[in-house]
Amino acid sequence: MVSLSGNLLFASFLLYLVGTVVFAGSIKDKKGREKDHGPNKWAKIGVGITIAGFLSQLGYFITRWIAAGHAPVSNLFEFTTFFGMCLVGAFIVIYFIYKLPALGLFTLPVALLLIGYAAMFPRDISPLVPSLQSNWLHIHVTTAALGQAILAISFVAGLIYLIKAIDHTKSSKESNWLEAVLFGVVCTVGFIVISSIFSFSGYKSEFHWVDNNDVEANVEFHLPALVGPHEGEHLTPEKFSPLVEAPGIIDAKKLNTVIWSLMTGVILYLLFRLIFRKRIAQVLQPLTKRANLDLVDEIGYRSVLIGFPVFTLGALIFAMIWAQIAWSRFWGWDPKEVWALITWLFYAAYLHLRLSKGWHGKKSAWLGVIGFLIIMFNLIVVNLVIAGLHSYAGS
């Protein structure tokens, strides 16, 4: 069951990959281009493949649920893949409302990155600690992820809008910021690439160190340690020895991973520039040429409108109900809770700003992008760096 589940996830990954290519084809396709007469053949195939991928991932989810005896949303790997699945699900629904192939072309890669990113974390099926043994866990986490995924569609729409609407040939504040966002995406690719390379080669080095609170521990690095733990003792001296030592309050292993991801990201980015001699956004721009800006703007707004109630229900209301049962208080100002509140306040601000003149189009697209950054911050930084009750024991 466990291996079947893994295979289904892998199959869905491949299908999303193929789907992306087919959506790209639908935009390049010069034939069936009678304007405004619905999506062409390629787009229809693309959606078909996406749905197949979604079903395959649903199969992964169900089989893993059966194997574990609980819904697979209880560690970083499981939650992030589930988030990716919800994103694809949200895309499929919104696609059938607005029939915009470019949305698929940009959503599927985001889902691919999420699943790829998730796969870099321990994939073991983990047993549930007492506080997680509740049906409210499933209800809360799944609705919250679904809400975030629907909200994330406004990020995709925002990206399409900005890629199309901004002039990338000149360096301006907006074009630079957009390129920075895309560089962030490249660094995520960098993280996946470099982690995969070293994990295939089975690289391991080990350190003994004493943390700020005088607790002794051994840590295992799976990337060559450019940065080593504070006053760490290298137990595998045949492996690469650290160039510098991290201060005591910083987790050297995570810092090291961040540095490797950034370096790989920079290399990939430079390679890209070398090959295309243009900014990423500029290379992507032709792919957005058939997207109507007003429609893209409306998709962004609409997805926030649809996602906001779902997010409120899942990430705040259900969360409070569960916290009241598990921890005896519905709200405890734990970092994860606070960041859910921040996300919620942010999208509330988005909705109110839409009431005012001028907060449509580009500005609104930027808000969609920022909202997604907040969601990702909550997923990645809060889980891995700002420890709290919700922190997944990731690495």
Partner: protein, 549 residues
């Protein structure tokens, strides 16, 4: 108060921009615009009309969405800062906050502490921010909902030409078979679930008006929720206590006026077992070592009997036995008990033997209950041990005097006086774990350590929260309101005959794409042209051309 009478005869409140009844543009300035501002139907909002007294000014300040959004953004930013370092309630209790932040996080930590961010969410200025959002919500909703309600209630079917012309969706047609076209359109409108009103051959088709109340309903829900949050500060509404109970002990439950008692039979800690539990977990268990599976206290709840005589031992009536686990609190009346924490193997009893140091001859054993030591233990035959001092949680203070840190026997120490027939005045000995001091020189006797008895202790949160009901109601109303406003929209289509032409205008408060698609199916094949989108392509503010202050 000056009222504005429209040419159509309707009397509008002072400040009205578009006549509530016929929609005629009443303000000169507005007439110059290509499209009218439809956000609040051009109704007379207090905040847009009065600005004289101090009350007007406060009202106008809080009714502005710009101010509301600014408050939300400030709260958001402040909340984020509060997560940089852990809040005071999450830091270990071993060090006071004033020391902890600096020792852990250096200068940044010190600054964080000095600025009060370590206790951000209960700071006065954070609460003030939330309160301002609440005030803003109330005022801005009142400012809009009443005029909006009036305008929607008073709207007439036949709208003024100037009003129709300035709608975002607008078109005119010459129609040959007018009657059959009308019938067809009406039929299609009905099929799309529009309510149709007719007057002199003009039509107003409308649906989803109730969605306009969504925001106001959700704001009411929020207000109720915030009010519920404030209720916590009313005495008696909220209880948060921690109750430690050792195995075998019966303790009175705090805050129940001595009415309820709880007996802890045993505390159970289970971990996942590779051989017994789901095989799928094996890898994870191997990688992370021990994984907790269950924290459980087997308890009995008692209620004090009415027959209890004041001043005497209470008589207890059993209420129920319960296996109290995480996620499965024990509820009674308005209280709930939660499995919160535990301590395994806490020292409970210690035994010693009075022993001659020379030949190790023993003169009797004594067992000391660490929670309730006796003053003296008579061993018979003239052998006796007095407990001169007892330090349950012993340490030396700065003057090297023995003191106790708490009443929990984490590190018990005693000063014994050993009285024997040989030494009738007694010998004094200081005995702590792995440590014996004989303050007055060499003793003949010693207290030889024999063993300890330990017990598990469970910690339960005692909770009463009478605000939950109010919060639930607020949350529910909020959800109803957001769903209403987000998943439905208010669409209107006006059809009017003007000088042998048919004029059609359409408006929706959101989701123009949906309205346009619907309109295109409605007018398709009816002989009436589909209205066109007049919003300026170069001006990307497509949603509406309104200006929100």
């Amino acid at each position: 108060m000056k009222q504005v009478k429209c040419e159509c005869g309707h009397v509008n409140p002072h400040g009205t921009v578009l006549c509530e009844s016929c929609g005629r543009v009443l303000v000169e300035e507005e007439k110059k615009k290509k499209l009218v501002d439809m956000r609040y139907e051009g109704s007379a909002r207090r905040s847009q009309t009065y600005n004289k007294t101090i009350i007007d000014k406060i009202w106008n300040f809080f009714s502005s969405v710009k101010v509301g959004v600014t408050l939300i953004i400030i709260t958001l930013a402040a909340s984020a800062i509060g997560t940089i370092f852990p809040q005071e309630m999450y830091i270990p209790t071993t060090e006071p906050a004033s020391v902890y932040y600096e020792s852990q996080y250096g200068v940044a930590g010190k600054l964080y502490y000095l600025l009060g961010f370590h206790n951000l969410y209960s700071s006065w200025w954070y609460l003030l921010l939330i309160a301002s959002i609440g005030i803003s919500l109330v005022i801005c909703s009142l400012d809009r909902v009443v005029p909006l309600y009036r305008a929607l209630k008073n709207q007439k079917v036949s709208r003024h030409e100037g009003f129709l012309k300035r709608q975002r969706l607008f078109g005119t047609s010459q129609v040959e078979e007018l009657d059959s076209s009308y019938e067809l359109v009406k039929e299609k409108l009905k099929k799309n679930r529009y309510n149709i009103r007719e007057e002199n051959g003009n039509i107003l088709a409308e649906k989803g008006r109730f969605s306009r109340w969504g925001p106001y309903i959700n704001h009411i829900g929020l207000i109720i929720f915030l009010a519920g949050g404030m209720l916590r500060f009313v005495p008696g509404m909220y209880v948060d206590e921690l109750l430690w109970v050792r195995e075998g002990e019966t303790a009175v439950i705090p805050e129940t006026d001595g009415e309820y008692y709880l007996e802890n039979h045993q505390f159970i800690l289970e971990v996942y077992d590779k051989d017994k539990d789901n095989e799928a977990f094996n890898n994870a268990i191997e990688n992370s070592g021990m994984v907790a599976k269950n924290f459980q206290s087997d308890v009995t709840l008692y209620k004090k009997s009415a027959e209890t005589v004041a001043g005497e031992e209470p008589i207890l009536d059993k209420v129920q036995d319960y296996e109290l686990r995480v996620n499965e609190p024990l509820k009674f009346e308005n209280f709930a008990l939660y499995q919160q924490s535990y301590k395994l193997d806490e020292l409970n009893k210690m035994s010693f033997a009075l022993t001659n140091k020379e030949n190790n001859e023993e003169f009797g054993d004594l067992t000391i209950d660490l929670y309730n030591p006796q003053d003296e233990y008579d061993l018979g035959d003239g052998y006796k041990v007095e407990v001169m001092s007892y330090f349950p949680d012993f340490e030396f203070d700065e003057n090297s005097e023995p003191v106790t840190k708490s009443r929990i026997p984490n590190n018990p120490a005693f000063i014994f006086k050993m009285i024997t027939p040989d030494k009738p005045d007694g010998e004094v000995s200081f005995v702590a774990i792995k440590q014996t001091i004989e303050p007055f020189g060499d003793n003949e006797f010693k207290m030889a350590f024999k063993g300890v008895e330990t017990k598990n202790v469970t910690a339960l949160t005692v909770r009463k929260d009478l605000t939950l009901g109010v919060l639930a109601v607020g949350g529910f109303i909020f959800m109803v309101g957001v769903v209403q406003g987000a998943y439905w929209n208010h669409r209107r289509i006006w059809i009017r005959r003007v000088d042998g032409e048919v004029w059609v205008a359409g408006h929706t408060n959101k989701n123009w794409h949906g309205l346009k698609r619907e309109i295109s199916t409605i007018f398709d094949g009816t002989g009436i042209n589909e209205p066109k989108d007049q919003s300026d392509e170069s001006d990307k503010s497509i949603e509406s051309n309104s200006k929100e202050e």
